[in-house]
Amino acid sequence: MAKKGERGRCATGIEGLDNVLGGGIPTSSIVLLAGSCGTGKTTLAFEYLVRGVISGEPGLLITTVETPDRMISNLPRFRFFEASMLVKSKLSIINLQEIIDSAGLSGSDMDEAAIKKLVAVIAKLVVAHKAKRLVIDTIDSVLMEIKDETLSSMLMADLSAALHRSECTAMLVSSAEKCDRIEGRVADGIIMMDNLERRWVLLRTMQVVKMKGTSHSRSRYVIDLTDAGVLVTPLLKGGV
């Protein structure tokens, strides 16, 4: 329950992450989930959606690289995931190409008008699916089509405004290894995922770098991707 004057929280359902965030992501935020390959971004984002469904919040996943079927087959078999979540449209998975085609944007340059159209289609989908949680995996595929930084910034701002109207909280997956790109500057929150090498073995790590509207830990945590969900523990300080 939010205190007076405080924004409500979207509890991710990922216990360790919610503890780090002091209860969850402030509602309607756009959070960038960034990091290099193999760090667990897609798995964490998917658990965020599945946990949402379990707590009664429908979710929408927009894939930009893999087809929905392939994406599902590559994810860990969460014990708490049920295929019926997909059938009953509590969790909808849509390929970006379908959105681009439906908006008539195929082959066109991503100019201001195209961006506005794209955001409008995404916003419409959020409303149609009654989605309270949105994941775009990855946002890079969208942003790389936009050459002008001002337009990238506009896309993020328009998306943020649209999601705010629907009280939808979003995670945008990005392969950025630093958070100084335009999407990082505009996002309300940044969660950096990384691979930490210790004695020639890789540890998956997670660090909340920024989260507007809440105080949060900025420590680095080690994560494990299991069928019981993403597990989180503090990185031992003597280990770096």
């Binding site: 210790r198 004695r199 073995v201 540890l203 080690v222 994560i223 494990d224 299991t226 019981a228 969900g229 597990l231 989180v232 523990t233 503090p234 990185l235 031992l236 300080k237 003597g238 280990g239």
Partner: protein
């Protein structure tokens, strides 16, 4: 004598109760007797989920030894931190979680957490075998931090954290760490 050791271990653990970090200082020749006392007499008797963290002997060897001793523990899980390093066989099993090396201490904590989630509220006994092996692979500062986090999180879960150590082979700083972290040290 052996039967006395079994029942003594179970009695001691019963006396200290959950949420208490206990270290058993064992002699190398009574190692399996001690393990049997913890797993058979205590864990099975109380219907606990037992998570056995091994950095000394691969889980497959331990399992075979327990079978030979006719010790049947219903809910026994292994966090095996040594098979990868030894390139030993690592058969896929729901009851065993492999960690690449005894230096990946955070991953060990996470595997214990994993089994805790699967236990769904059932009380747990967590055995760390052994302090000596972990001291061999890790600097004392890291080991201290690891044992502190592990035992405290287990205490919070009302589990039974049990550390095994062979006292003759412990370095003084490791002994100090153990004394600092454990609520009770029981020489056997």
């Amino acid at each position: 004598m052996t039967e006395n050791l079994h029942s003594m271990i179970a009695t001691k653990l019963e006396e200290v109760g959950p949420s208490t970090a206990v270290a058993f200082e064992i002699k190398i020749d009574s190692y399996f007797d001690a393990v049997r006392g913890i797993l058979d007499d205590f864990s099975s008797g109380k219907d606990l989920v037992c998570v056995y963290i091994t950095a000394s002997v691969p889980s497959s060897t331990l399992n075979a030894a327990l079978e030979a001793l006719e010790v049947k523990v219903k809910d026994l899980r292994f966090v095996d931190c040594i098979s990868h390093t030894l390139m030993a066989s690592m058969e896929d099993s729901e009851n065993t979680a492999f960690v690449e090396s005894p230096t990946m201490l955070e991953n060990i904590i996470l595997k214990v957490e994993y089994f805790y989630r699967l236990a769904q509220g059932k009380k747990m006994l967590v055995v760390l075998d052994s302090v000596n092996s972990f001291a061999l692979h890790n600097e004392n500062k890291m080991l201290t931090e690891f044992l502190t986090i592990l035992t405290n999180s287990l205490k919070a879960k009302e589990a039974y954290p049990v550390l095994l150590a062979i006292p003759d082979q412990l370095r003084p700083e490791t002994r100090e760490t153990m004394a600092m972290i454990c609520d009770v040290i029981i020489p056997l």
